[in-house]
Amino acid sequence: MRFIDTSIGKKVIMAVTGIALVKFLFIHLIGNSTIFLGPEGINAYAKGLHSLPPIVWGFRLIMLLIFGIHIYFAVQLTLDNKKAKPIGYSVDKNLAATFSGKTMIWTGLIILGFVIYHLLHFTLQITSPYFIASSHPDNFGRPDVFKMVILSFQKISIALIYALSITALALHLSHGVQSIFQTLGLNGDYLMPKIKALGLALALILSIGYLSIPAAIQLGIISL
């Protein structure tokens, strides 16, 4: 049987693509945090990032591929598992399963929807027609990403969409990160509670980090 046809093989692919996605989230968060340095920070960062198109596009394609593989196997495994348990019990009791664990496919799909919106919003700049960074250079002639982000997150509707999606991400990761270790066999009786705590901590760090940007703008801590 081919590795990708086996049950554990598919799980390993979920875990490995999961690791890549979590790593990306950290890098992306560090990049985004330059907004706290004002226009000097984020506009310079955005310009630097886009000064090497082949690298940017290569990176984007690889991330998209990893994301696609993760989703493909997620849907396949979830449908498979539904079929393996066609009938439940009349008394529905859970002894150990958590809300975040049972909703992985739903929080995942929320993340997918969000990623599409996020790309339309800040990358392709289709859903933020009131301000397109590339046609509004700042004083140094760079696309004014700072202004685009501030104007967006000052809108409560946009800030709320982001907050909701980040909550879904926090739930996804609070089950997902500790799952990585179990799936890859890097777990044991001694490590298990520590790994669960680590998963929760990473989920919190990432979600609080990402939330801090729309929150700071809504609260007026960062403004134009």
């Binding site: 049987m1 590795f3 086996t6 049950s7 554990i8 093989g9 598919k10 799980k11 390993v12 495994l77 498979d80 598992n81 079929k83 393996a84 348990k85 066609p86 009938i87 439940g88 019990y89 009349s90 008394v91 529905d92 009791k93 859970n94 002894l95 150990a96 399963a97 958590t98 664990g101 049972k102 992985m104 089950h175 500790q178 799952s179 270790f181 179990q182 799936t183 890859l184 066999g185 890097l186 777990n187 044991g188 009786d189 298990m192």
Partner: protein, 245 residues
């Protein structure tokens, strides 16, 4: 005690089943759960009705035959206890008790509370053995085994193959059972020889039988009457990944 039972009745594999209500009168708190069902069945037989069919054999918690989901929990509310070892003192007078069979695609219902668990036997047949030469019995201490390894192997060997892990799993996965068997043998020098082949064959069989995939909910560990731990599943995953190289 007097109880109201809601029991899954199903004539055979292909017929439609449903929950039926029964009264259990004058039940002693010292009876086991199966003895309580025996009392109900005696009355049903006297009344000329079909008794409730359920699996059992040793009634001392070692054979793994008894298999009932009681109020949504495989083997009932008491941790690390099989149905046959569960006593009525853990229930209250007037309780309403729901009794259902193991549910999983890989466990078709034979009748009422009895399901066909031979899929687990076929997982064992696929690789849950060690190949040895027959002949004289070797000396007990001919191969030295570190005590911690022997202990882990013994912990894994506690699995009685009841299938409660499958019944508890929202995905109908048999990972805990398979992990126990794989770990039991992979910990020992006699089992290491065929470890890679074994883990591949057993997990492949698991898939062929229609069991689901593990999503790390750990319901299995909570339901297991023998305290088999999910760290054995991590060990199974490790063995499987190692076997790829």
């Amino acid at each position: 005690m007097n109880l109201t039972l809601f029991v899954w009745r199903q004539r055979d594999k292909d017929s439609q089943g449903k929950l039926e209500e029964y009264k259990a009168h004058d039940i002693s708190p010292d009876m086991s759960f199966l003895e309580m069902l025996d009392v109900v069945n005696e009355r049903l037989i006297k009344e000329g009705k079909e008794p409730i069919a359920f699996d059992h054999d040793c009634r001392e918690g070692i054979c793994g035959m008894c298999s009932q989901v009681i109020n949504g929990i495989p083997h009932g509310p008491q941790g690390k206890t099989t149905v046959c070892q569960l006593h009525m003192r853990h229930f209250k007078d007037g309780d309403r008790i729901y009794i259902e069979p193991w549910r999983a695609r890989a466990f078709p219902i034979i009748k009422d509370l009895i399901v066909d668990r031979s899929a687990l036997d076929r997982i064992i047949q696929a690789g849950g053995y060690v190949s040895v030469h027959t002949g004289g019995v070797p000396d007990a201490n001919a191969i030295l085994i570190p005590k911690p390894d022997a202990d882990t192997a013994m912990d894994a060997a506690e699995c009685i193959g009841c299938g409660a892990c499958v019944a508890a799993c929202p995905n109908g996965s048999a990972m805990l059972f398979t992990a126990a068997k794989v770990t039991h043998l992979a910990m020992l020098p006699q089992g290491k020889v065929e470890a890679a082949r074994r883990v591949c064959l057993m997990t492949e069989q698991m898939l062929k039988e229609g069991f689901g995939n593990c999503t790390n909910h750990y319901e299995c560990q909570a339901a297991c009457p023998k305290g088999i731990k999910v760290s054995f599943i991590a060990k199974l995953n490790r063995e499987f990944i190692k076997a790829q190289f």
